[in-house]
């Protein structure tokens, strides 16, 4: 299949799990989203402070509380944001959640305080350089790690949304039009091929008319030859493909 870098890990039950590593795009998106959150929080904080600041300065006791609050919130916004979220969110900050990525240790577990501190404190090395070292090492490195990931031993993996509904029991009407496919659709197609077929069926409304019928015709011809049935008319190609997918999903 495709050459996307992956994290291979073995659970204690010795089951191999493959997780896809995140590329630079999703990570940049996550960073931007987090930066936006921090920015909005800071603006809100400044607003609240400027409204209540005079009051705080008048009352000595409140002033100290205000300082504590400000100091800690600035720290959290600038430095602690990632650490706190990665600990509470099982390796996901709000931005990472949006981008569909997650920080994991090399064994697949969520990062602990040590890992999260290490990988985020080392941002201090990359930020003054415009994140250039991070971008290069994520884009070019085989394990897609930043400097901080390298030292902390963490990786960033993709969290895809999979739609299992394509495996649902198919509508009978589609299958009935091409009964000759019974018992022939299943052996003609590998599981991966079925997914390509159902992917085409799902996405065809987005395809431009001519391209859509051309792809359908090519697919129908290939599959008909493989199954050993007569190639359908070009106008019937999509109905044939639907029936093919239906007979396959039926298990026959």
């Amino acid at each position: 299949m495709d050459e996307r870098p992956t994290l291979e890990l073995l659970t204690p039950e010795r089951v191999a799990v493959t997780l896809e590593l995140s590329g630079i795009g999703a990570r940049a998106l996550a960073w931007l989203a987090d930066a936006l959150c921090i920015f909005l929080l800071s603006v809100t904080g400044l607003l609240v402070y400027s409204i209540s600041g005079d009051l705080l300065r008048d009352l000595e006791a409140l002033s100290l509380a205000g300082q504590l609050l400000t100091a800690v919130s600035v720290l959290l916004a600038g430095w602690g944001w990632d650490v706190v979220w990665e600990l509470l969110g099982e390796g996901q900050t709000p931005g990472k959640r949006l981008a569909g990525i997650r920080v994991v240790k090399a064994d697949g577990g969520p990062p602990g305080l040590s890992e999260s501190l290490l990988r985020n404190v080392l941002r201090a090395m990359e930020l003054p350089l415009g994140y250039a070292p991070a971008i290069l090492s994520v884009a070019l490195g085989s394990r897609r790690q930043r400097l901080g990931d390298l030292v902390a031993g963490t990786l960033v993996v993709r969290q895809r949304r999979y739609d299992l509904s394509r495996y649902d029991r198919p509508a009978e009407a589609a299958a009935r039009r091409f009964p000759q496919l019974r018992g022939r659709a299943r052996p003609a197609l590998a599981a991966e091929g079925f997914e390509r077929l159902s992917e085409f069926l799902r996405r065809r409304p987005d395809l431009e008319g001519k391209a859509r019928s051309r792809v359908a015709a090519v697919l129908a011809k290939t599959l008909a030859v493989r199954a050993g049935v007569v190639t359908p008319e070009e106008a019937d190609a999509e109905a044939f493909l639907e029936a093919f997918a239906a007979w396959y999903a039926e298990g026959a």
Partner: protein
């Protein structure tokens, strides 16, 4: 099992319900503690999903079913094997791991202190021998303020105290993070950073002495300075430990040695940041307050210094000796 005759679709339909139940349970386990019966169910479903994954990998490789199951098993794995009892881990970190981490590498700490002292002595000496050196070493705003005889406290009080504290904190945390991170430059960057900070402090002190403001300056920094510098030294120590792993990884590959060193010094980072928060709060609230006598400020600073290093060099000793 009727084996290879079954399609991936039939397989998914047969197992999907259990997978989705496992997904729900794993999500709930991440948020709260599950009742015992459900933990058992989680464990059972996890094992079944792991077996399903092994089967799907062999028979339907490259399918969405494989991708879905990989993520599901990883998620359930995270839920089952996540560290519990965070409070206990935190207590152990404070009681044992932080002091142990600093004591395990006395050489790195000594090196950091020596480099800082060298910078400090050099800066002070340079300004003392040739007052013109101050133009190079002492920042202009500080020179102007001292030449005009203005006090430090007056300057700092003009800004909102909370904002000042936050800015100070941000600078200090950045400096500490760099002192640590620059350890990756084989320690050269860390040493430079310490040297420059030492030069700055030494030259400012000498310049202040020449203008008869040494007492005023020392009075200002007495409360927060010791803790601030201690935290910087600790960050630099962590940086030097990483540099050591990089330069001399021993029998390990460099990457593994670096990761091991990172794990060892991470507890120090967990201390540096809170220490800097305390120092910044004192710098913003106590140091500029004229109502607090110098003696009180100095004893606060010394008490913090003693507590900090006393705890690092005596805490958790009984346990770390046995491990």
């Amino acid at each position: 099992m009727s084996g290879s005759a079954r399609s991936v679709a039939v397989f998914v339909r047969a197992h999907r319900e259990g997978w989705e139940r496992l997904s729900t349970l794993a999500e709930r386990a991440q948020r709260s503690r599950l009742p015992l019966a459900e933990v058992g169910e989680l464990d059972r479903l996890y094992r079944r999903a792991a077996a399903d994954l092994a089967l799907v990998r062999a028979r339907f490789p490259g399918t969405d079913a494989e991708g879905y199951l990989s993520q599901l098993v990883a998620k359930a794995y995270r839920a089952l094997y996540r560290p519990r009892a965070r409070a206990a881990a935190l207590a152990r970190l404070v009681r044992d791991r932080i002091p142990a981490a600093t004591r395990r590498h006395p050489g790195a700490l000594l090196l950091a202190a020596l480099v800082l002292l060298a910078g400090l002595g050099g800066g002070a000496l340079a300004v003392a021998i040739d007052p013109a050196a101050a133009e190079l070493l002492v920042p202009l705003p500080a020179r102007e303020a001292m030449a005009a005889g203005r006090t430090w406290t007056g300057q700092l009080l003009s800004a909102a105290p909370g904002v000042t504290g936050a800015a100070l904190l941000h600078n200090n945390v950045t400096a500490a993070a760099l002192a640590f991170g620059l350890g990756l430059s084989a320690g050269i960057g860390t040493a430079l950073l310490l040297l420059l900070n030492g030069l700055l402090i030494g030259s400012v002190l000498a310049y202040a002495a020449q203008h008869g403001m040494l007492a005023d300056l020392l009075g200002f920094v007495a409360a927060h300075g010791p803790l601030e510098i201690s935290a910087l030294l600790l960050a630099a120590q962590a940086g030097f430990v990483m540099a050591g792993a990089l330069v001399e990884p021993g029998e390990w590959p460099r990457r593994a040695a670096l990761q091991a060193a990172g794990r060892e010094v991470a507890p120090l980072l967990a201390l540096v940041v809170p220490a800097l928060i305390v120092a910044a709060l004192i710098e913003a609230a106590v140091s500029p307050a004229r109502t607090i006598p110098v003696e009180a400020r100095a004893s606060l600073g010394l008490a913090l210094l003693g507590a900090f290093w006393g705890w690092l060099f005596s805490g958790g000793r009984s346990r770390s000796g046995t491990s």
